[in-house]
C-alpha cells in the first residue's frame, strides 16, 4: 500500500518498515517497534517519505541491529501489557529490568560498546540509559588497567604526572576488586 506523503491511516496493524544495516542486510520490523528508534521516526516524519522506503542505517552493524530490534520488540510488548494498572505496571517494570539484565549479561565488552554506539545513533533513550548504566557497573571499582583495556586507552601520563595523580586520589582507596 503506497502512502505518498500522507499520514498513515489509524488501522495500521501489520504495517512494516524496512531497515538496512551497514552490510546491506534488510530487517523488516513492525511499525510500532521501528518508531522506538527515534532516528527512524524522524526519517519518516519528513514529508514526502513513503513507508515503503528502506531506511539506510549505515553506522549500525547487522548483529547490533538485530539485538536492538529484539529488545525494542519486547519492550513494546511489555508496555502494551501494562496499561494503567498499578500492579501490572510494577510487574512490567520488573520484567523489563530482567530483559535488560539478560541482554547485557552475555555481552562482551566490545559487544556492549557496539550496542551503545548503535543505540546512540538510532536515538533510543531507554536503551542507551541502561546500557551505559551496565557499563558503569562493569568498570566500577576495577583496577586502572582494566578500565584502560575496556575503553582501549593508552596511558599518556608521564611517570611524574601519574605519580602526582595517584597521590591526588589516594584518599579514596581502600581496596580494589581483582579484574
Amino acid at each position: 500500500m503506497a502512502n505518498n506523503g500522507e499520514n498513515p491511516s489509524p488501522d495500521v496493524g501489520g504495517k512494516t518498515v524496512k531497515l538496512k544495516a551497514d552490510d546491506g542486510e534488510i530487517f523488516e520490523v513492525e511499525e510500532a517497534v521501528a518508531m522506538e528508534l527515534q532516528t527512524v521516526k524522524s526519517f519518516f516524519d519528513d514529508d514526502g517519505v513513503s513507508y515503503d522506503t528502506v531506511v539506510p542505517l549505515l553506522n549500525v552493524s547487522s548483529t547490533a541491529l538485530a539485538k536492538v530490534i529484539q529488545y525494542c520488540r519486547r519492550a513494546v510488548e511489555l508496555r502494551a501489557k501494562s496499561g494503567d494498572d498499578e500492579g501490572a505496571n510494577e510487574k512490567a517494570r520488573e520484567e523489563r529490568e530482567g530483559l535488560e539484565a539478560e541482554l547485557v549479561r552475555e555481552e562482551s565488552d566490545e559487544g556492549i560498546k557496539e550496542l551503545i554506539l548503535a543505540a546512540n545513533y538510532l536515538n533510543i533513550k531507554d536503551m542507551l540509559s541502561f546500557l551505559c548504566r551496565a557499563v558503569g557497573d562493569r568498570i566500577k571499582n576495577k583496577s586502572v588497567e582494566y578500565v584502560r583495556r575496556f575503553f582501549v586507552l593508552e596511558n599518556d601520563f608521564s611517570p611524574e604526572e601519574e605519580e602526582r595523580t595517584r597521590n591526588e586520589v589516594a584518599w579514596a582507596f581502600e581496596g580494589v576488586d581483582a579484574d
Binding site: 540509559s129 571499582n141 586502572v144 581496596g175
Partner: protein
C-alpha cells in the same frame, strides 16, 4: 568529538573505527551513571588515573554533580587536601550532597563555622533535608557561638521544613518542641501526633529497605543484631542507616584525628558524631547525668536503643549553663509509642 586512535589489532581491520572508540559525550554519560551509582569513593576515583582523557572527563561538572553520598564518604583517617579539593570541586559543580558533607566537615571538624554554615545553607536551599535538620540543631544549640546565639524559632522553622520533606529526626525534634512549647507555641496533642508519625515513618523505611536483597550487602556497618528501637511494634529490626558524614565526624574525633577541646563532649548517640562547640553546650540526662545529647531527637533515639537499659539515677543534675531552659529534665519515656 570522537578521537581516532591508531588501531593495532589486526582482527578489527575491517570494522570502521567508530565502533572501537566512544565519543566524549557518551563517555561522560557513562561516567555520570557510574558516579550516581557508586557506593564507595574508589568506585569512581580510579577512573581519574587511567589517562588524561578520562581524567578530564571524569572531572567534568556533569559527572561531579551526580556523585552520591556514599561515593563522597571518605574515611576520616584518609582526609587530606586532595580529598578536600575533590569535595570542593563537587560543590562547585552543584552537587548538593557534597555541599552538605563539606559543610558539616568544615563546621565541626575544621572549626570553620562561617563557611560550614554557608555550605549547608546552600544545600538547604535546594531542599536537602539533612542539611535543614543540621542547621536546625545548630540554631537550637547556638553552636559556634555563645548561649545567647540560640535561636529557637529559627530552629523550629528549619525543623519544620525538614520534617515536611520527610526527615524522621526533624519530625521527632518538632514533636518534642511542640510538646514542650520550646521555640513554638505549646501544642501537646499535635506534638504527640508528630512523634507517632516519626516512629511510623522510621518503621516503614526500615522495612522497605530491609526487604531489598542488596540491603545487607551494602550496609556492612549496620549492627545486624537488631536494636530495641521499634520493639514497641513487636519487631526487631536492624538499626537504621547513618548518613556517611555522621560516620566521618565520629571517626574524626574518636580516632583523635581531630582534637576535641578540653571539657567538650560528643553527643552520646552513636549515630550522631556531633561535638560541642563550647563547654556545656549539649543537654545532659537529668536522671544520671553521664550522657549528653545535641538534640531531643538524639536523646529520644539513644534512650530507646541503649540508654534506657543503663540509666541509673544519680543525684539530679541541672544544666551547668545555668537557667535558660536547657534542662533535659523530661525523660523520654512519656512519648514512647507503646503507651498509645
Amino acid at each position: 568529538m570522537s578521537r581516532k586512535k591508531p588501531r593495532t589489532r589486526s582482527t578489527l581491520a575491517e570494522k570502521p573505527d567508530l565502533f572501537d572508540d566512544l565519543p566524549d559525550d557518551l563517555v561522560v554519560f557513562i561516567l555520570c551513571k557510574l558516579s550516581a551509582s557508586a557506593s564507595r569513593p574508589s568506585d569512581l576515583v580510579g577512573i581519574l588515573v587511567t589517562c588524561k582523557r578520562l581524567n578530564r572527563l571524569g572531572l567534568h561538572p556533569l559527572v561531579l554533580s551526580k556523585v552520591g553520598p556514599k561515593a563522597l564518604a571518605m574515611k576520616a583517617k584518609n582526609w587530606s587536601d586532595s580529598g578536600h579539593y575533590f569535595l570542593k570541586q563537587c560543590v562547585d559543580a552543584g552537587n548538593v550532597e557534597a555541599s552538605y558533607t563539606l559543610g558539616m566537615i568544615r563546621f565541626y571538624c575544621l572549626q570553620n563555622r562561617g563557611s560550614g554554615v554557608s555550605l549547608m545553607a546552600k544545600a538547604a536551599i535546594k531542599s536537602h533535608a539533612p542539611a535543614l535538620y543540621s542547621l536546625a540543631v545548630i540554631q537550637f544549640n547556638g553552636s559556634g557561638g555563645s548561649k545567647s546565639d540560640k535561636n529557637l524559632r529559627a530552629g523550629v522553622a528549619l525543623c519544620g521544613r525538614a520534617a515536611f520533606l520527610g526527615h524522621v529526626d526533624a519530625l521527632r525534634e518538632l514533636g518534642h518542641c511542640l510538646q514542650d512549647g520550646y521555640g513554638a507555641r505549646q501544642n501537646i496533642t499535635q506534638g504527640r501526633r508528630l512523634l507517632v508519625q516519626a516512629n511510623a515513618r522510621e518503621l516503614a523505611s526500615v522495612l522497605r529497605s530491609c526487604s531489598s536483597p542488596t540491603w545487607h550487602r551494602s550496609h556492612p556497618w549496620v549492627n545486624s543484631s537488631g536494636c530495641g528501637l521499634l520493639s514497641d511494634f513487636g519487631c526487631d529490626v536492624p538499626a537504621r542507616e547513618v548518613h556517611p558524614v555522621n560516620q566521618f565526624l565520629k571517626e574524626w574525633f574518636v580516632s583523635g584525628r581531630g582534637e576535641l577541646g578540653q571539657e567538650l563532649r560528643m553527643c552520646s548517640h552513636s549515630g550522631c558524631g556531633r561535638p560541642e562547640t563550647r563547654p556545656h553546650e549539649f543537654r545532659r540526662c537529668s536522671v544520671c547525668g553521664t550522657v549528653n545529647y545535641c538534640s531531643r531527637g538524639c536523646q529520644a533515639l539513644d534512650w530507646k536503643v541503649r540508654h534506657k537499659a543503663e540509666c541509673v539515677p544519680m543525684e539530679r543534675w541541672l544544666e551547668a549553663d545555668g537557667g535558660g531552659g536547657d534542662e533535659v529534665g523530661d525523660v523520654v519515656e512519656g512519648m514512647v509509642v507503646g503507651e498509645i
